[in-house]
């Protein structure tokens, strides 16, 4: 009877997977995927340092910033919701066409079909909708907590200004998304909202013409707002988020303690 080859042991496999140029090119020296993790100060530092999260977090943070009642995690949660909305939004894009010509209201049809016949379609739509409301709310609360901590004081003045811009962008993201289902609620809520912009004394008509692609909300508006909602405003938001996060670190990390 021929002898069967012995299966390689776990450590053999691990060794041959990790001990080659490709693995080593992916994981930097000191990465826990390269040499394991022991709970030492050195490995704790390396876990933060040899990680893409190093773009966001320093190796060490101020102890008081960890207390839940300092940030209430509100900035982080705003960002989490933004990421969640990006993911669910990409899912929704697969099933949506921004068309609303008379008699060919495909956008609205798509919304109906989404809940009726797309697996998890309704759930993802709900997540996107409630997540959007939650994000607007979280950003408001984040602003309030930053104010009450005086966390906008030097050197963080400019980051507050970036924050205000992020607040406006968040509102605009939510508002442009509001129109996309193309139901009565969407059409009229957005009509009320854009009428306000149209009241601006000097450029009122031009502003609403540019925003609406016409004198009133129609199929052109839907296409325009779709592009704003899925591409343009998220792009601008990401740019400002990058500045916001970069400044938090350059301004010396989280503010305080009080």
């Amino acid at each position: 009877m021929p002898k069967l080859p012995k299966p390689p042991s776990y450590s053999d496999v691990k060794g041959s997977v990790q001990d080659n140029v490709i693995w080593k090119s992916i994981f930097r020296p000191g990465s826990i995927y390269r040499k394991g993790y022991r709970d030492t100060s050195r490995d704790r530092a390396l876990a933060a340092m040899n990680n893409v999260l190093y773009h966001l977090h320093p190796v060490k943070v101020k102890r008081h910033g960890l207390k839940l009642t300092y940030t209430y995690c509100l900035g982080g949660l705003s960002f989490f919701l933004f990421v969640l909305l990006t993911i669910t939004g990409i899912f929704l894009m697969f099933f949506y066409t921004p068309a609303a010509g008379a008699g060919t209201e495909i956008a609205y049809m798509n919304m109906r079909e989404l809940s009726a016949s797309v697996t998890f379609g309704g759930l993802v739509r709900n997540l996107h909708r409630w997540g959007a409301h939650a994000m607007v709310f979280a950003v408001f609360l984040h602003m309030a907590r930053v104010f009450y901590h005086g966390a906008y004081k030097p050197p963080r003045e400019f980051n507050w200004v970036v924050g205000v811009i992020l607040l406006l962008l968040t509102l605009f993201l939510s508002f442009t998304g509001y129109l996309l289902p193309w139901d009565q609620l969407a059409l009229w809520a957005v009509t009320v909202g854009t009428n306000i912009a149209g009241f601006s004394p000097v450029f009122g008509d031009q502003v609403s013409f540019v925003l609406l692609g016409g004198v009133q909300i129609g199929p052109e508006t839907l296409l325009r707002w779709y592009v704003l909602h899925v591409l343009f405003v998220p792009f601008i938001t990401v740019v400002f988020l990058a500045v916001h996060f970069w400044r938090i670190r350059k301004d010396g990390g989280i503010s305080g303690p009080l």
């Binding site: 320093p58 409630w130 104010f147 205000v164 009509t191």
Partner: protein, 278 residues
């Protein structure tokens, strides 16, 4: 080199006369006197051409006692009286040692061989770069402490959102119809404060002036608030003002959202029902 560099009194007086600070005038006057001295000795100013530099290096080496075999990697210069400063020779030895060539080439700021592509400009003691005044803060490692908190927060909010989304469907009304104005006609909730203002003021005031002023005020706030303290007990006025600001918009938003019904008339939600859709 060892003797004190004189300063050029003429240049010094002129610069002081021009209102330059004492420190700058002294530095410039020193430089001027060195330049003058060099010209007197017939040396050329500015960077030396390559051969001249290597000749100067040769001289430097021989003045150090032939080839620098004395250098050791752990050279510990006796710096008894010099107040912690190295003499140029000692510094050169250190540089050589740190470059790993044991001082054999005696290379000081000049490529020892042609495959060096850069040269060392200076060694600066750490204290010379910056003086950090701030106190050491009480800090903890991002991993595991901060990342764990973040992860839990993310799970909590994520699962809350998932549960809500499971039980509560997003609204979807009938097909949009530009010719049929719904009885209850409201903006999204975060604009309800604005819409409520429109019930009281001319649109040019409510829509633009008040909104514009609010955004401008928010952006100007950190520059307007000159109070350096972040402690709550020192910011009573600021806290109160901001609370009024939040309450102003909060109350308007509540009224608009819950107390307005068909035709934007005042209603009581427990009588006429809730005219509010998210």
């Amino acid at each position: 080199m060892s003797d004190e560099v004189q300063i050029d009194q003429e240049v010094y007086d002129r610069l002081i006369g021009e209102g330059k600070s004492e420190r700058i005038a002294r530095a410039k006057a020193k430089a001027a006197s060195v330049r003058k001295q060099k010209i007197e000795e017939g040396q050329s100013l500015g960077p030396k051409p390559a051969e001249e530099a290597s000749k100067a290096l040769e001289e430097f080496r021989s003045s150090r006692g032939g080839g620098g075999g004395v250098a050791t990697k752990t050279a510990a210069p006796a710096d008894g009286g010099s107040g912690g400063r190295l003499t140029p020779e000692e510094r050169a030895q250190r540089v050589a040692a740190s470059l790993g060539n044991g001082g054999d080439s005696g290379s000081v700021g000049v490529p020892a061989s042609s495959d060096h592509t850069h040269r060392l400009l200076a060694l600066v003691p750490p204290a010379g770069i910056q003086q950090v005044q701030s106190k050491q803060m009480d800090k903890v490692y991002t991993w595991p402490h901060l990342l764990l908190v973040e992860f839990v927060a993310l799970l909590a909010v994520g699962s809350l959102l998932l549960i809500v989304s499971f039980f509560l469907d997003a609204p979807l009304g009938s097909l949009a119809n530009p010719n049929e104005v719904p009885a209850i006609n409201k903006a999204p909730w975060y604009f309800m404060g604005l819409q409520e203002l429109l019930a009281y003021f001319h649109p040019a005031v409510a829509g633009i002036t008040i909104v514009g002023a609010t955004v401008a005020l928010l952006m100007a706030l950190p520059y307007a608030d000159k109070n350096p303290s972040a402690r709550p007990e020192n910011r009573k006025f600021a806290a109160m003002a901001f609370t009024f600001f939040l309450a102003f918009w909060g109350i308007l938003t509540m009224i608009g959202s819950f107390l307005r019904g068909a035709g934007y008339e005042w209603v009581w939600p427990w009588v006429q029902g809730l005219g509010f859709t998210l």
